[in-house]
């Protein structure tokens, strides 16, 4: 499958003005248990305040069917292939829930930003990983529609004698690289060696760790690997889905010569880039496009015995901006557009017939926006306070923060600026991650009277009649919040947020600054009072522990704490430890739900809303499975051209 192996590496996507954002058959028996909730309730719960766009085709997420009662760790075993399908090797994977299509055709997609490298192990941003996702197969795949993990190159991943610290990985027999060489246990071991090597800087290194210690890989036979973790872990499937597997035979020489970093770059001869995914590199034209072609050795087949992918070629055009992307799509030069801007969505909806395409409304996405106040205490090296001490006292006041949250009219923002195409959200984790999102956290509904009442109780009253309240010691309730400039929607929203706060006597001034300056201030100098920003989430909470832990770098309201500043942050740290040690999905879910509850009670930040995601694709393509979590061609190998 496409793209899953890279999920953990996806670029920051700080939903900045850059606007660079970004299913197959589960042939596993992981779903023996009973589902947590059925399809209908899931959708209803998601819809809450937002409905699918009229005229668009809804493709909303439903909760994955995961057993939350069993205390067992997730193990994966392949089902035997269905009878009657002729396969070239018995372990080939048969994809059952797709319409068998015919081979041929090209899918053209335009994206902003060019691939930076074809080196799967060092790639660290989305422009590269979205293409590499179609070129490399993962051991375990993530299905972006059902939000479940399934077997990829592996035919089995089980614990050894029920000990969740020791796992046995069995590769499918008969797998081949795109150059025809066999894909074996040696490749897994080699990939791990590269990732852990000091001569290579790989974002995957951090992923393949349990309890701060790297996983140990041992070869048992040509197709079997034993993976030993320092502690029992319930996240082996997540780690294996993020583990890049590269060909030993093609890269060993470069690795030994300590030149792995400069192997498989964009100027490499395409034929030397050996891959395992549905497509392989045909050509790369700098600044113009990447052309992929069918990998004749791919391991997945449809129920007619036709080898996937159906498409002959996939072309990724490189365009400079969203306007050009839309233009290419409308002029018929591209077959799909993912994440169109809100102002373009309505136009796309109304031109579906002329353009012969379908607009999919996939519901709320993973990218969330927050307003938060800087809670970092102390001074920088020059002795300057990060935040003025009086202000810091004010921001630390939980009642003050609650009053701020009550003062924000999020629904008005959603209905005006975002034209109703966003979901008012309260929890830290986006509702799109139906398994992890906690729908029952405390909500701070818009209530100016209540906000005023809280401020009055806290003795924050306008004492000098200038319309801005002051605390008992005379500190005015005023703050400047920063956001990145150049994003018109964001600037409009910032103005509305400031206006809402003014209504209750809090003076908030938005300041629009350059993205790089913003990052420096949030991450390095910490000299800001408040910030309003959007973040791309991750598809699994285990990869965002950095944001939860008080010691984390992206624990934005107060990063890099040596000891937890508050009791509840200590409690979250503790829960993080419990989460990483939790084995069964149900237990993991309960812990994550609890963490969201605690954060919502203590409002260190104000989750605002989650925008919906849209994809538009020409009608001539079949087996489309659009997801709110990723680009529309994520299952490129299954897409075919209808006749």
């Amino acid at each position: 499958m496409v793209n899953r192996s890279l999920s953990a590496v996806r670029a920051a996507v700080v939903a900045a003005s850059l606007a660079w954002l970004p299913a197959c058959a589960p042939d596993v028996s992981q779903q023996q248990g009973r589902p947590t909730s059925d399809t209908t309730t899931g959708t209803a719960q998601l819809q809450g305040t937002v409905k699918p766009l009229e005229g668009a085709t809804a493709a909303w997420p439903v909760p994955p069917m995961i057993d939350t009662v069993s205390s067992a760790v997730l193990e994966f075993k392949a089902e035997p292939p269905p009878a009657g399908v002729k396969l070239p090797f018995p372990d080939a994977q048969v994809v059952k829930n797709i319409t068998p299509g015919q081979r041929g055709g090209t899918f053209t997609y335009s994206s902003i930003g060019e691939p930076k490298t074809f080196n799967l192990i060092t790639a660290n941003e989305n422009s590269s990983t979205q293409i590499l996702g179609a070129m490399f197969a993962g051991l375990i795949n993530f299905d972006y529609v059902t939000q479940t993990y399934n077997l990829g190159l592996l035919k089995e991943m089980v614990t050894e004698n029920g000990n969740a610290a020791v796992w046995i990985l069995r590769l499918r027999d008969g797998l081949k690289w795109s150059d025809g060489q066999p894909l074996t246990a040696d490749d897994i071991l080699f990939s791990n060696e590269v990732i852990q090597s000091d001569s290579v800087v790989s974002p995957s290194r951090d992923v393949l760790q349990v309890g701060g210690k790297p996983l140990k890989f041992e070869k048992l036979d040509n197709l079997t690997v034993r993976v030993t973790a320092a502690e029992p872990t319930g996240f082996m499937h997540v780690m294996m889905s993020s583990m890049p597997i590269v060909p030993k035979h093609a890269l060993e020489t470069a690795f030994i010569a300590k030149q792995f970093e400069t192997a498989m770059l964009i100027n490499a001869d395409p034929s030397t880039i050996v891959c395992s995914g549905p497509f392989k590199l045909k050509a790369y034209q700098s600044g113009e496009r990447t052309i992929l072609e069918r990998n004749p050795h791919y391991y997945r087949f449809d129920s007619n015995g036709t080898q996937l992918p159906y498409l002959d070629n996939v072309v990724f055009q490189i365009v400079p901006d969203t306007d050009a992307m839309l233009l290419r799509f409308e002029a018929g030069q591209a077959d799909a557009i993912s994440y169109p801007r809100m102002q373009d969505v309505f136009r796309l909806r109304d031109t579906q017939k002329q353009g012969n395409f379908t607009l999919f409304d996939c519901g709320p996405g993973e990218s969330k926006t927050y307003l938060w106040l800087n809670l970092k205490p102390g001074t920088n090296k020059e002795g300057r306070h990060y935040v003025n001490p009086q202000k810091h006292e004010l921001f630390k006041n939980l009642q003050f923060r609650k009053a701020v949250f009550h003062a924000l009219n999020k629904d008005a923002i959603i209905n005006t600026v975002l034209r109703g195409q966003a979901l008012n959200s309260w929890a830290e984790i986006s509702p799109v991650l139906t398994f992890w999102h906690n729908p029952a956290v405390e909500e701070y509904t818009f209530d100016q009277a209540k906000a005023k009442q809280i401020l009055d109780q806290e003795q924050m009253i306008d004492r000098n009649g200038d319309g801005v309240r002051e605390t008992a010691d005379g500190t005015p309730l005023s703050l400047t919040f920063i956001t990145n400039k150049g994003n018109k929607t964001r600037e409009e929203i910032a103005t509305l947020l400031a206006a809402d706060l003014k209504e209750v006597g809090i003076q908030a001034v938005p300041q629009y600054i350059d993205f790089n300056t913003l990052v420096t201030r949030l991450n390095d100098t910490f000299d800001y009072e408040g910030c309003y920003l959007g973040f791309g989430g991750s598809i699994h909470p285990i990869t965002s522990m950095n944001s939860w832990r008080s010691s984390g770098r992206t624990h934005f309201w107060n990063p890099l704490q040596e000891t937890p500043a508050t009791e509840w942050e200590a409690q979250i740290d503790q829960l993080c430890n419990e989460f990483t040690a939790a084995l069964a999905p149900g237990e993991q879910q309960r812990i994550i739900h609890r963490m969201q509850e605690i954060v919502a009670q203590n409002v260190p930040n104000f989750p605002l809303f989650v925008s919906k995601t849209f994809h538009a694709v020409r009608n001539r393509f079949g087996n489309l499975r659009p997801s709110p979590l990723t680009e529309v061609f994520w299952n490129a190998e299954e897409i075919y051209v209808k006749q």
Binding site: A8, V9, R10, A11, A12, V13, V14, T106, T108, G113, K116, T117, T122, N124, E125, V201, S202, P203, R205, D206, E261, T262, L265, I266, N267, A283, Q285, S286, G287, E288, I291, V315, Q317, I318, V319, P320, A324, L327, R328, E330, A331, Q333, D514, F515, N516, T517, V519, T520, R521, L522, N523, F535, S538, T543, S544, N546, S547, G552, R553, T554
Partner: protein, 323 residues
């Protein structure tokens, strides 16, 4: 003449060195660095960032990095490695330079080959319909910003379907076997960017050509030549034109470097895979060596353009001596 060339080139070296110093200073002292985006990613841990900072040398003072880079150029001809692509800067820029030079060439030819005849016609037939028409074209070219022109061109392409909306080659072109077809495809893609990029220049040169020629047409030597019985067209081409060309040649020197900076804009709007887009991207991503190399390349183009103009001046006008 050779002395002039050598002297000019020699004096360019300290200029380029100083320019690169300033570039590095600014890159290091403006907020953010290549890893800014990654820093915001919860999935990227500190250890990874630290290792990347070391690998890229971002933990060193800027003058170290600058001096090392300069030494690399002097000693090995190595302009460093792109942070983003990990390929040598020369390769990275080289791939794009061709596309930019191609566009620069076509738009220069377009501008000059049209401007000179138009300017001459306007001057010779002053105050006639021809003059008015040529002036109208020129004023449109002078007053319409090239961004707007680029947008109009794209709109025209999208609505009419006669031209591609951007790029240098078609998606299918890669699979074609006929070189002739491929060249035709490139030419077809070049039409609109050429017009957009060349139009501003066309307008300026037409106006200059017209006014210079009008001036020389009124000189005493023209009157003398005509009264001696030299045919009008000959008097214009042999005597007036040569004298009227001097200021235009100076303009050409500047235009040479302008083409690079002007192309930035057109390339971005029209999705043309040239150097301008690469440079802007590198600038936003703080891909240091790529930015520095692009700045140097632009400066070198300016210096060379001026030098070329001076040489052409001397060739055109025997009165000009550099000794």
């Amino acid at each position: 003449m050779l002395k002039l060339v050598l002297r000019r080139l020699a004096s360019a070296i300290p200029l380029l060195v100083a320019l690169s110093f300033v570039t590095f200073y600014l890159l290091f002292n403006s907020p953010g660095d290549y890893l800014s985006t990654l820093r915001m990613n919860p999935q990227v841990n500190q250890e990874y960032l630290t290792r990347e900072i070391q690998r890229l040398g971002l933990d060193q003072p800027f003058y170290h990095v600058w001096a090392k880079w300069l030494w690399g150029i002097v000693r090995y001809g190595n302009f460093g490695q792109s942070f983003q692509y990990k390929i040598p800067v020369t390769d990275h820029i080289g791939e794009r330079l061709f596309a930019t030079l191609l566009l620069a060439l076509t738009s220069t030819l377009f501008a000059w080959l049209l401007a000179i005849p138009l300017g001459i016609a306007a001057a010779v037939k002053q105050n006639t319909l021809t003059d008015r028409l040529a002036s109208a074209i020129a004023f449109i070219g002078l007053s319409v910003p090239s961004v707007l022109l680029a947008l109009l061109a794209i709109y025209f392409a999208a609505v009419s379907g006669w031209f591609p909306t951007g790029g240098l080659r078609s998606d299918d072109a890669y699979f074609w076997t006929s070189t002739w077809m491929k060249m035709k495809d490139i030419a077809w893609h070049l039409v609109l960017p050429t017009i957009v990029l060349g139009f501003g220049g066309l307008a300026i040169y037409t106006r200059h050509m017209r006014s210079n020629l009008l001036e020389t047409l009124r000189t005493d030597y023209m009157r003398t030549a005509l009264s001696k019985g030299v045919p009008y067209y000959k008097a214009v081409t042999r005597h007036a034109l040569r004298n009227a060309l001097n200021p235009l040649i100076t303009l050409f020197g500047f235009a040479f470097s302008d083409l690079l900076s002007g192309a930035f804009l057109v390339e971005n709007v029209m999705a043309y895979p040239g150097l301008g887009r690469t440079t802007i991207e590198a600038y936003f991503q703080k891909d240091m060596f790529v930015v520095a190399a692009s700045v140097l390349l632009g400066a070198t183009m300016l210096i060379l353009g001026n030098l070329l103009a001076d040489i052409l001046l001397a060739l055109n006008d025997p009165r000009i001596r550099y000794e």
